[in-house]
Structures are given as structure tokens and as C-alpha cells.
């Protein structure tokens, strides 16, 4: 795995350089972007940030842990729907039922919606719910030593199942249309540009926070152990660890991050629907991570932002060809630069002095 081969720059990026990179990104997202972008573009960037948050988690689980999590849409959806349910209830007002239940059903609300009236409960649920689901699923899958392609396929099947379930439960979750029309966000009017900027800042801030978590984990013993598990799972067993537990932690962390991303996506995009969480959406997240560099610190986040931007920009200019671009992206990146764009600067950097060295060797 050349991605993780320790070139000096890569090593540096894991330590101080990584922190510097995060600081620069924070500066760009939290200070520069709000100053130069229009409200509309800033909203778009906020959406990309939500995907980036999920991508950071994928970088942890896939890049560092070797688990190709092809169904992160599930967790993105859990967070997104939890938040959206709260916002719908907020819009409906105390004691009232969300509008769509009146339209599609008989106007009664299922009991499990009730707790989401509480903002505090919702915030807790956005973290705890995906963690629990990931724990149960991960435990079941990883303990049986399901890995590699099997893991990926089961994961994707999960995303398909989840989206189908959402579509099928139209009276409870809005079905294919999903949940939309959120006038307020914890009391803040969502039509007000100032508040939109605030929500953007929260999303960007959460992205930075997730990056800091991953940066820290990367430096910790756990980070080493995770990479070790990816590269030689059996060997880790003989260090006295159960590799399943190590991977489980990364899987759960990735799930929580995806959920946080989804939770911010709902108010920023104004909608969360099955098409934001299905297999295709999950794969788009993977595309960003692959592009940026699965095993690098900033790569997944930047890659996700780039893919989000590319989707907006390319679909504006070449509306019929976005699918081709997306497909080509997978083919070119995975085939030619499997370690992602993040691997290019260190590679170039490493290539330069080596040429000098070989010349020296030749003259010797």
C-alpha cells in the first residue's frame, strides 16, 4: 500500500503538518469563504462540508482501517432523518403533527417520533443512534471476520435496504419525497441569510472538529494499531488484540461522523430523502475519499468537497455528462492514483532528490 509509505512529507503531515493543514482549512472555510462567497455558493459549500464530514469518517474506516464502507449513506441518513424529524416537529409546533402525515396517512404520528420534539434528545440521538446501529451491525459482521469484498457488498446491500425501507414507510418517513420544508433550525429562521451563514459555520466547524479527532487518532497508539490491523490482521491477533474490536471502534467513529454530516445536511439542503442516503449517494462519498486520498488526513475531506463542487459545476456546464465524469473519476483515480491526489505532492517531492541521488551514484 504505497499510500501509507512513509515519505518524509507524509510523516510530517501526520504530526505538526497535519495540524497546520487543519488550521489552514479552518481559516479557508470559516474566515475566507464567508467573506468572498455569495450566500448561495456558501450554502453549497456547506453541503459539501456535510459530505466531507462523512468522508473524514470513511477515510478513517477505509483508508486507515481497510474497511470499504460502501453503505455510509445509512448513517448519513440516520443523522439526517433524526435532525429532519426534529425540524419537522419544530415547524409543526407543540402538540401538532408534521404536515405530510396528514397528507399521506391518517394524521396520527407514530410514537417513536415523539422524543424528537426535544432538541436535546435529537442532538444526543444524532450521535448515539448511529453508534448503536454501527455497534450492533459491526459486531455481527466484524466478529464473524467478514471482510474485504464481503464487507463492502454487505454494506452496500445495507444502503439499498435502508433506502428501500425509507421509501416503503411513506407514512412515517415521507417515503420517496423524504422530509423537507424546514422553516426554522432550533428557533432560528432558516430564510434569514445570517442564520444560513451560522449553520454553514457550524457545519464547517464540525468538519474541522472531526479532522482534529482523526488527526489525534492517527497519532495515537490506536491509530497505529488500526493501520497495523489493515495491513496484517492476523499479526495483530498475535499482539493480543482482537482485530474486530479495533475495527469496530473505527467503524463506529465513521458512522457517528457520517451521522453528524447528515444531521447538518438536512437544514442546509432543506431536504433529506432516500436519494441522499441510497447506494448511489454512498458511492459518491467513496468517490470523494478515493480522489482525495483514502489514507491521508485532509484528502478525504478535500476530495469530498471537490466532488461536491465538481457535481455542481459540471452539471451546470455539461448537464448530460456528469455520469461520465463520475464514472471516469472512479476509473482514473483508482487505476492510476489509488492513493489519491494527496499522494501526488509527496511523490513528486520524493522523486526530485532521488534523481539527484541516482546521478551521484552514476558518477561514482
Amino acid at each position: 500500500m504505497s499510500a501509507a509509505r512513509r515519505t518524509p512529507l507524509a510523516t510530517a503531515l501526520r504530526g505538526w503538518g497535519g495540524l497546520l493543514g487543519i488550521a489552514l482549512l479552518a481559516l479557508a472555510l470559516l474566515v475566507v469563504a464567508p467573506a468572498v462567497l455569495s450566500d448561495f455558493r456558501l450554502g453549497n459549500l456547506g453541503k459539501y462540508c456535510c459530505w466531507a464530514i462523512a468522508a473524514v469518517g470513511i477515510g478513517l474506516a477505509w483508508g486507515r482501517g481497510g474497511m470499504l464502507v460502501m453503505g455510509q449513506g445509512v448513517f448519513f441518513g440516520i443523522g439526517g432523518y433524526a435532525m429532519a424529524m426534529h425540524l419537522k416537529l419544530e415547524a409543526a409546533g407543540p402538540g401538532n403533527v408534521p404536515d405530510f402525515m396528514q397528507l399521506y396517512g391518517d394524521g396520527t404520528m407514530p410514537g417513536w417520533w415523539e422524543p424528537f420534539r426535544s432538541g436535546a434528545f435529537t442532538l444526543v440521538a444524532i450521535v448515539v443512534l448511529p453508534a448503536l446501529v454501527a455497534l450492533v451491525l459491526g459486531y455481527a459482521i466484524l466478529k464473524r471476520r467478514v471482510r474485504g469484498a464481503y464487507f463492502a457488498i454487505l454494506n452496500q446491500a445495507l444502503a439499498v435496504t435502508f433506502a428501500t425501507l425509507l421509501v416503503a414507510t411513506i407514512k412515517q418517513t415521507g417515503g420517496f419525497n423524504g422530509l423537507n420544508s424546514f422553516p426554522t433550525f432550533f428557533g432560528y429562521n432558516l430564510y434569514d441569510p445570517v442564520n444560513k451563514q451560522m449553520i454553514y459555520s457550524i457545519a464547517a466547524g464540525l468538519l474541522i472538529a472531526c479532522l482534529l479527532v482523526v488527526w489525534h487518532l492517527g497519532r495515537s497508539r490506536f491509530g497505529e494499531l488500526l493501520v497495523a490491523t489493515r495491513d496484517a490482521e492476523e499479526r495483530v491477533r498475535f499482539l493480543g488484540h482482537d482485530p474486530a474490536n479495533i475495527k469496530l471502534v473505527a467503524f463506529v467513529a465513521a458512522a457517528v461522523m457520517a451521522s453528524i454530516g447528515g444531521a447538518m445536511f438536512a437544514p442546509i439542503a432543506g431536504i433529506i430523502s432516500p436519494s441522499d442516503v441510497n447506494a448511489a449517494a454512498s458511492i459518491l462519498l467513496i468517490a470523494g475519499v478515493a480522489l482525495g486520498g483514502r489514507a491521508s488526513l485532509l484528502g478525504p475531506a478535500l476530495g469530498a468537497i471537490a466532488v461536491g463542487y465538481g457535481q455542481s459545476a459540471l452539471s451546470e456546464s455539461f448537464p448530460n455528462h456528469w455520469s461520465y465524469f463520475q464514472g471516469a473519476l472512479f476509473i482514473v483515480v483508482i487505476l492510476l492514483i489509488p492513493a489519491g491526489l494527496a499522494s501526488l505532492p509527496p511523490r513528486l517531492w520524493a522523486a526530485l532528490p532521488r534523481r539527484g541521488r541516482t546521478r551521484k551514484a552514476a558518477t561514482a
Binding site: F176, Y191, M198, G270
Partner: protein, 416 residues
């Protein structure tokens, strides 16, 4: 030593990030949750006026929505050739909704706040409309939505030029009642429109004395209908009410034939199969029925002109269909409202819209200023061997739009 420094740096960075987040939280908390209407940025000073055309030109819905885009562009071209709106040439700003509701929401925001268009035309799926609704209300913009839908909605900022349920579903039921249908089987895709439509159908059927002998849903993208069709065979209904969407119809019609059903045993009435979709099912669909407000075969002078212009522009093999006609009509209606209001301002437009009419290909349509829908005539067509629709039944004149079915006392929205 070095590690403690690192920790310090880490916590500082974390604190910094947190501070940034918190400081940016200084949002304004307005108490009235209503739309703080943003000032319109529409530029009406020049001799052109920008209009947004927002349809999916990529993704699953592209093939349907592209036809809407085509007729919008045709209408714009005709209007421009005729002197424009209030003397201003239409400058279309095209965007792709990519068959994804979230993208529709994003793009309509761009069109209204960044491109500053005077109005947006487009949307197809209910999901796309629902996603655009808060955005268009939030920025007090205008959206013209050209597709028949499940009703139960009326927004100050949206004009609905397709049918609402009392202009398509209810006429279809009236047609069935007129044919003496006693038993009905409901088959639909598992999403909003079929679910809502069937809720209405079931209540109206009870009123009409028609028995519902089965109700089946299949996921949107599923092609396998054999199990459900076996249930139809078993139920032997007088008619099948089909609310299946898109390509899923092909598998349904195939399974229906294979198991020995046909127009003479248990005929189908569809609300999503039009001139565009029928050829995909070939001869299998011949003899079946569809409920719309427009067919290519409608004989009006306006329709003759429309078909001629459309085929001249896009090719003689191109059929015209209900949503295309509704989109074409929507742009002309907008022109007529604006010219009545003598203003592009949204509030002025809304104030002037009531009673504005247009001699559309389907016949004369008139806007209801209360609910922003238009009065339309209900038509039932029977599919012939050329995959065209022969009109076999029509409502008595245009039906006033009633999106919330307030005029129907059998309707109980909270009943299951």
C-alpha cells in the same frame, strides 16, 4: 517534553475551532418564523428578462423532463418572436435538476438569488417540488410547475399548470362509474403520488359503490410484477387503476399480458402513461386507457399549431404529451399575467393572476387566483395501435381546481 507541547497545541487548536463556531453562531433569532422576504434582485431595467428553466437533463427523470425543457424553449422562442413579455425578450437560464430533489433545491436557490430570474419553470417529481417549495417561498420567488400531481398543496409562490387530483383522478373514477365498473384493483409504485391518489380513489370508490378488490405497491425501480399480477388474476377486477411510475410500467404490462389478462378482461386505466411512455410498451398497451387533460390527438386549432411548431423544431417523429403541453401553457400564462399586472414583481403578479386565461392546446385554461391552479378539462383516452390516444370520454367542460378536495363531502383527509 515534545508530547506535552503537542497536546497543548492540539487543545489550543480545538479551542480555536470551537470559538470560531460559537462566534459565528451569532445568528438572528426572529420570533415570527415567517419568511423574512429577501429583497428581489430581479433586474427589469434592460430589454431582456431572465427566466429560469429547471429540469433534469441527467439522471433517471431526464428523458421525461427533457421533453418539458423542449416545449419551454419552444414557447420562449415563440414569445420572443412575437415581441417578448412586456416588450422584453426572454433570456432563458437553464439548469439541471439531475433527478435529485436536493439538487433541485440547490439550483432553484441559485436561479432566484444568484441569477436573479423573474420566475422559474420546471420540476417534475413531487419530491423535487416539495424540495423547491421552501426555497421559493423563502426568497419569495415564482415557480411554474407543469406536471399532474397528488394535490393537497397550494403555495403563494407556485403556479400549478398540471392537473390536481380532482382534474385527473376524480374524472377517471367518474369515467369508470359511467362504464358500470363494480370492482377495482389498485396497482402503484411505492411513493407519494400513488399512495395519495389511492387514498382518494378508495374514498371516492366507496361513494360510487365500487369495490376495491386489491391494492399492491412495488418499489419505484422494480421491474418484477409477476406476484402482484397473479393477485390481479385471482381478484378478476372489472378494471385496474394504474398509478405506476416510469419504466416500472413495462414490467407490469408484460406480466399482465403473460398471465392472460388483457383490455377485454381486466382493462387498465393509467395516470402516468402518456404519448412519451406508450411506445416503450409497444403493442402490449394497445386498447388500454389513460386519464389526462391533454392528448396529442385533441382537436383544437391551438393544438394543431402547437404540434406543428413542436415537430418543426424537434422532428416530425416527436410526440407531444400532457406535461409538455402544460409547460408550454405555463410560459404563456406567465406572459399573460405579467402583461395584465404590467410588472414582473412577484406580489404584483400574484395580485393580477386571478382569472387570467390562455387558449392552450388542450382548450382554454383559466387561473384560479386563490389556489394558483388552473381549470382543466378531464379526458380519457384509449391507446390505439400507433400508441396514440383516442379520446373516449371527457368531463363536462373545464373542472375548477380543488387541490384540497374541499368541495367533495366524501373526502376525509384524516381517514386511512
Amino acid at each position: 517534553m515534545s508530547t506535552s507541547r503537542t497536546r497543548l497545541a492540539a487543545s489550543t487548536a480545538a479551542a480555536l475551532a470551537a470559538a470560531l463556531v460559537l462566534s459565528s453562531c451569532g445568528g438572528s433569532k426572529s420570533d415570527d418564523g415567517s419568511a423574512a422576504a429577501a429583497d428581489s434582485c430581479v433586474d427589469t431595467s434592460g430589454d431582456t428578462i431572465k427566466l429560469g428553466f429547471l429540469n433534469s437533463t441527467s439522471g433517471a427523470m431526464a428523458i421525461s423532463e427533457q421533453t418539458v425543457r423542449d416545449s419551454l424553449l419552444l414557447a420562449a422562442k415563440e414569445i420572443n418572436a412575437d415581441g417578448g413579455i412586456l416588450g422584453k425578450q426572454i433570456e432563458p437560464v437553464e439548469e439541471d435538476g439531475a433527478s435529485d430533489p436536493a439538487v433541485f433545491a440547490e439550483k432553484i436557490g441559485k436561479l432566484l438569488t444568484s441569477d436573479c430570474v423573474a420566475a422559474v419553470f420546471g420540476g417534475w417529481t413531487s419530491a423535487s417540488r416539495k424540495a423547491m417549495l421552501p426555497v421559493v417561498e423563502g426568497s419569495n420567488g415564482l415557480l411554474f410547475y407543469p406536471v399532474q400531481y397528488e394535490g393537497l398543496e397550494a403555495s403563494e409562490n407556485i403556479y400549478y399548470t398540471g392537473a390536481t387530483t380532482n382534474q385527473q383522478i376524480i374524472p377517471a373514477m367518474d369515467f369508470l362509474a359511467s362504464k358500470g365498473v363494480k370492482t377495482l384493483f389498485l396497482a402503484g409504485s411505492d411513493y407519494v403520488f400513488p399512495r395519495t391518489a389511492n387514498k382518494i380513489i378508495k374514498q371516492y370508490a366507496a361513494e360510487l359503490g365500487i369495490e376495491i378488490v386489491g391494492e399492491e405497491y412495488v418499489p419505484l425501480d422494480s421491474d418484477d410484477w409477476s406476484t402482484q399480477v397473479a393477485k390481479i388474476v385471482k381478484a378478476k377486477p372489472d378494471f385496474v387503476f394504474n398509478t405506476i411510475n416510469g419504466s416500472s410500467n413495462v414490467g407490469f404490462i408484460k406480466a399482465y399480458y403473460e398471465q392472460g389478462l388483457g383490455p377485454d378482461t381486466s382493462p387498465i386505466i393509467s395516470v402516468s402513461i402518456a404519448e412519451e411512455e406508450a411506445p416503450a410498451m409497444g403493442k402490449d398497451v394497445t386498447g388500454q386507457f389513460a386519464a389526462w387533460n391533454y392528448f396529442q390527438s385533441v382537436e383544437t386549432p391551438a393544438n394543431e399549431a402547437f404540434i406543428e411548431a413542436f415537430q418543426a423544431e424537434y422532428g416530425a417523429d416527436r410526440p407531444t404529451s400532457d406535461p409538455m403541453e402544460a409547460a408550454y401553457t405555463s410560459l404563456y400564462l406567465y406572459k399573460n399575467i405579467v402583461e395584465k399586472a404590467e410588472s414582473f414583481d412577484v406580489d404584483d403578479v400574484n395580485a393580477a393572476s386571478d382569472g387570467v386565461s390562455f387558449d392552450a392546446p388542450e382548450g382554454t385554461v383559466t387561473i384560479d387566483g386563490e389556489n394558483h391552479h388552473i381549470a382543466k378539462t378531464g379526458l380519457i383516452g384509449r391507446i390505439n395501435a400507433e400508441n396514440q390516444f383516442d379520446v373516449v370520454w371527457s368531463s363536462e367542460g373545464p373542472i375548477e381546481p380543488d387541490p384540497f378536495l374541499e368541495g367533495y363531502d366524501w373526502w376525509d383527509p384524516s381517514a386511512e
